[in-house]
Subunit: 233 residues, 2 copies
């Protein structure tokens, strides 16, 4: 038997779940942004703060899971309601990874800051901006139930992939020019790859939002690259 009161409580709980995800998205985006700046501005203190701050993102995931499990135990949601709760858990899991990526970039910053600066950090900042906007936009799309916005994020991942492929080639050339650049350039390569992964997580979330709102993942298939486009392996 479902009473109005029960339905209203469920809505309230879902809203709380969404608010926690919105907050988690904001934290993950801020961590990523601070991590990129710790590379660009060679700021090791900022990097240490990012590494410590990852626990806050993890705590948000715990809150989302806790709330989701309570909702499932108390309300027994079915069909679309159950999908909503499960999607919230999956989105929290993706955001937790974005937080990990931020911490991972910050750890590389600590090493990079001990070597001579590389000119490619500007391209890293540009990639970081795109990835940060993707995280922000996809969480906004989730909260608003906006499939068009989610699709825009999904499409934008190609832009980030291209930035990564281009930077990959530039960094390899740089390494070949001067072996002294090999170690820092390798770390910067891992930073770039990590930012590219933030795009993948955002794309994942965009697909979930699209599915929640329209019942289908983005219909138009992204042009698949040739398998030899190894940089994105």
């Amino acid at each position: 038997m479902i009473t109005d009161h029960m339905v209203k409580s469920f809505d309230t709980e879902l809203r709380r779940l969404n608010a926690t995800i919105a907050r988690m998205g904001g934290l993950a985006e801020a961590q990523l942004d601070a991590a990129i700046r710790s590379v660009a501005e060679r700021d090791s203190a900022a990097a240490v703060a990012v590494i410590a701050g990852d626990a806050n993102v993890d705590a948000c995931q715990f809150d989302v899971e806790d709330l989701a499990v309570k909702i499932m135990a108390l309300r027994h949601p079915v069909a679309v309601d159950l999908r909503s709760v499960l999607s919230a858990m999956r989105i929290a899991s993706d955001l937790e990874r974005v937080g990990d990526y931020g911490a991972s970039i910050a750890k590389r910053a600590l090493v990079l800051n001990q070597a001579a600066p590389l000119r490619e950090t500007e391209a890293i900042s540009a990639m970081g901006r795109v990835a940060g906007e993707m995280v922000r936009d996809v969480i906004a799309a989730y909260v608003a139930g906006d499939a068009a916005k989610a699709l825009a994020v999904w499409k934008r991942d190609e832009e980030l992939d291209e930035m990564y492929s281009s930077l990959f080639r530039v960094l390899l050339t740089h390494m070949m020019e001067d072996p002294r650049h090999i170690t820092p350039a390798t770390h910067l390569l891992f930073v770039a790859k990590t930012i590219e992964r933030v795009g993948d997580r955002s794309t994942n979330i965009a697909e979930m939002v699209s599915f929640l709102v329209t019942g289908a993942t983005p219909a138009e298939m992204r042009p698949k690259r040739d398998v030899s486009s190894f940089e994105n392996a």
Copy 2:
């Protein structure tokens, strides 16, 4: 009202869920193994098969999620039963990533096979063996509800991390010795990092198994490395 019949059905469904995870673990392990061999034996045909085979691992995840959602909708599990179903979904998500890692390694193999062989592929095979065993053992621990076995996997991740750190240094030295090795060595570095991530996923699963069986994650904390141990960022 819970009848014996309902309880029995729930057990049957959980067993089916576990069997699907066991099968998924086997597939993911096989994909990883074939991917490593496609690098070690420079076998591009095998690499192409691994890339195509990732869809089978993805299909298993779909099966697990579908079954889990059905169980939750029909049985409304609470407490430990709900945790079991949610853990199954999380383990499937980790195994899906292991499958992705296999495909990612296979894509790198296609590129590596076009360059001159590198002597470090032997170390890659050794890392692959450890990672494959971790996947196999942690899924066996899950199916058997064996916390001691899960703990052993969890501890073994340090071995894999050390192999990775060592190979990282060797590859960088190799790149410095001869700039012609930079491109293939970079790809091999990403392969090594990907194998190291398989260890992280296995560790994740080990923690879930430990929690499911004992109610606590592995108590003894792994010695945390100095933050300057950047190779594992």
